[in-house]
């Protein structure tokens, strides 16, 4: 009897330790990644000309004449594509989530959810290929512009990639609002739209914010698709029809051939550190906002 008890206790302890290990490992991985990215780039940090780095658009990493590492145009590229993608993806994503969770008949809901999840399963290189071969001629034809690889193309592709994430998380958030809220609103004579607008959206705002921010994260971090769809041109965009180049695409395109431990290689890791810091800030701000909302 006591033997069996002992095994049970032992199993319990082992499982607990294993689960704790899983939890802690996430932290270890995050710090590990940061550590390795930092280690590859850090000895360039004191030598880097920060004024040029942040304010110059001249990105000449392999110049034989004078090497210049200015990332202003790359920052502008990342920013413009991400903002456009969010302008397109957030209304569509939240709208789709509200429709699926509140207005849709159950049978259609299941079909829609499967299709939306299918959208999430398309690999990013396929999206990039669509951008290059389908969207490029289409944009040239529709807007009469000289080239279709631009902010608009990249923004649409990224929006299509983030919509499924936004929809599925936002839908979960809406579903987590207790039905009693809906019933109460109905009892007060609210229409369905009033219920959504006045009751559900405020009640689910934490989850909705999380959905939007994960969408932003996806858009900032994407490489292959934007590499192919934005035209990859070092240029500060003045309209959505200009080609741009993003930070992530630059790292992806140049890392493979930069000689290991050269300055070019290190500056790509410095860009990695910058991206890491940016996403960290976005997450931190989001977390603080969510906390702020919760404490009210």
């Amino acid at each position: 009897m006591s033997g069996r008890r002992k095994t049970a206790v032992l199993t319990e302890k082992t499982m607990e330790a294993l689960i704790r290990l899983c939890g802690v490992s996430a932290v270890v991985f995050v710090f590990g990644i940061f550590f390795f990215v930092f280690r590859e780039g850090y000895d360039l940090l004191p030598r880097l000309d920060y004024r040029e780095f942040f304010t110059s658009i001249e990105w000449y990493p392999t110049s034989q004449n004078r090497v210049r590492y200015g990332i202003l145009a790359l920052l502008a590229g990342t920013f413009s594509v991400t903002v456009l993608a969010m302008l397109l993806a957030v209304p569509f994503g939240l709208g789709a989530a509200i429709y699926v969770s509140e207005f849709c008949p159950p049978k259609r809901r299941e079909t829609l959810k499967v299709i939306i999840e299918l959208l999430a399963a398309i690999p990013s290189v396929v999206w990039g290929f669509i951008g290059l071969t389908v969207m490029n001629p289409l944009i040239i034809y529709l807007f009469r512009v000289p080239i279709g690889l631009n902010v608009l193309n990249g923004g649409i592709i990224l929006a299509l990639m983030s919509v499924p994430i936004i929809v599925s998380i936002a839908e979960d958030a809406l579903k987590a609002v207790p039905d009693t809220y809906r019933e109460a609103a109905l009892a007060l004579g609210a229409t369905r739209w009033q219920t959504v607008y006045r009751v559900l959206l405020p009640a689910a705002r934490n989850g909705l914010l999380a959905a939007v921010l994960l969408g932003v994260g996806r858009a900032i971090g994407e490489t292959m698709a934007v590499l192919m769809a934005t035209g990859h041109a070092v240029h500060i965009p003045t309209s959505v029809f200009d080609s741009v180049r993003t930070l992530t695409a630059t790292v992806a395109a140049e890392m493979g051939e930069a000689p290991v431990h050269s300055d070019h290689y290190k500056v790509l890791f410095v860009i990695g550190i910058l991206l890491f810091t940016l996403t960290f800030l976005v997450n931190l701000i989001a977390d603080l906002t969510v906390r702020g909302i919760r404490n009210k």
Binding site: A26, I140, R245, G256
Partner: protein, 305 residues
């Protein structure tokens, strides 16, 4: 307390992906160390220039029925990647569409203690591609420098006296390559000299094929890529060194007799004297059968001895 616990499954997914990729990386590096150094050979690892990857693949496929005991594994990544891998000892042959730089030779001596050996296996001519509806037929290196160079002033097709039918506006859409491909470095040197730089704002694509693909879909575009990548959808321009000189069509004759101005040797590098298996493979590449594949792949074969 009632927050949807959505982050939990995500974290564990990332964790899993991380584990799997670590494991895959471990397997890969372990396998590679064993690969090229086994005594009784077997696998010839062949990496490098993207320009040469199709050619190297074609050779590998043609070689395997003749020598079934040897398998040649080919991958691309760029000339620089191939050289780096050769120095690190992970490949047997590095494909290179430019000469090894003195610094690279020095590093090979230092870290491997062996002299890199150069093997000339054919020629590549970089063709200048425009859309098939572009009325332009020829171009000079000086004009290319005006279009691509940092100090060049031309941004409109009107500067060349050309009107593109169907195109919206006459902006020259410059198509280039990512900044450390061998093709990029070679083209920069060919038109701008050793210390020139390209004008910013070109569309920097990630493969030789993509350049031609994009030119074929963009009426106002100009791009450079290997001669072998031409399709019916694009036009190759005749190229002259200077205004007033005769413009030369890119083909094998003009490449071999040196009149076509933008052509370069295709090289394979080994570390030190190749062993018998590598020697046999390189000899076969230099044979008529091997050189026929060079021609089939759209490059220029070595002149017959």
């Amino acid at each position: 307390m009632k927050r949807p616990q959505k982050n939990v499954p995500y974290l564990s997914t990332f964790f899993l992906i991380g584990l799997v990729s670590l494991w895959a990386a471990a397997c890969r590096s372990g396998g590679q160390e064993a690969g090229p150094r086994q005594g009784k050979a077997r696998i010839i690892q062949n990496t490098g220039s993207d320009t040469m990857v199709n050619l190297a693949q074609a050779w590998a496929e043609a070689y395997s029925p003749i020598h079934p005991e040897i398998s040649v594994e080919v991958s691309g990544g760029g000339s620089g990647t191939g050289i780096a891998a050769l120095i690190n000892g992970t490949v047997d042959i590095a494909n290179c569409s430019r000469k090894m730089e003195p610094a690279e030779i020095q590093r090979a001596r230092e870290s491997a203690g062996k002299e890199p050996r150069e093997h000339l296996i054919g020629y590549d001519a970089l063709a200048i591609y425009v859309h098939k509806q572009n009325p332009l037929e020829e171009i000079t290196l000086e004009q290319l420098a005006e279009i691509y160079g940092e100090k060049g002033k031309w941004t409109r097709w009107a500067d060349l006296g050309v009107k593109i039918p169907q195109a919206a506006g006459d902006e020259i859409i410059r198509i280039s390559r990512q900044s450390n491909s061998g093709t990029f470095a070679y083209f920069r040197e060919a038109i701008l000299g050793h210390s020139g730089d390209f004008k910013l704002g070109s569309r920097d694509l990630h493969g030789s094929k993509d350049v031609v693909e994009l030119v074929s879909r963009t009426p106002g575009a100009i791009g450079y890529s290997g001669m072998g990548y031409g399709t019916g959808e694009v036009k190759k321009l005749r190229v002259a060194r200077k205004a007033g000189e005769k413009a030369v069509e890119p083909n094998s004759e003009t490449t071999l007799n040196g009149t076509y101005p933008i052509s370069r040797p295709l090289l394979m590098y080994t570390l030190g004297e190749p062993d018998s298996h590598l020697r046999a493979y390189l000899d076969w590449i230099h044979s008529d059968a091997g050189q026929a594949i060079v021609t089939q792949s759209g490059y220029v074969a070595l002149p017959k001895k």
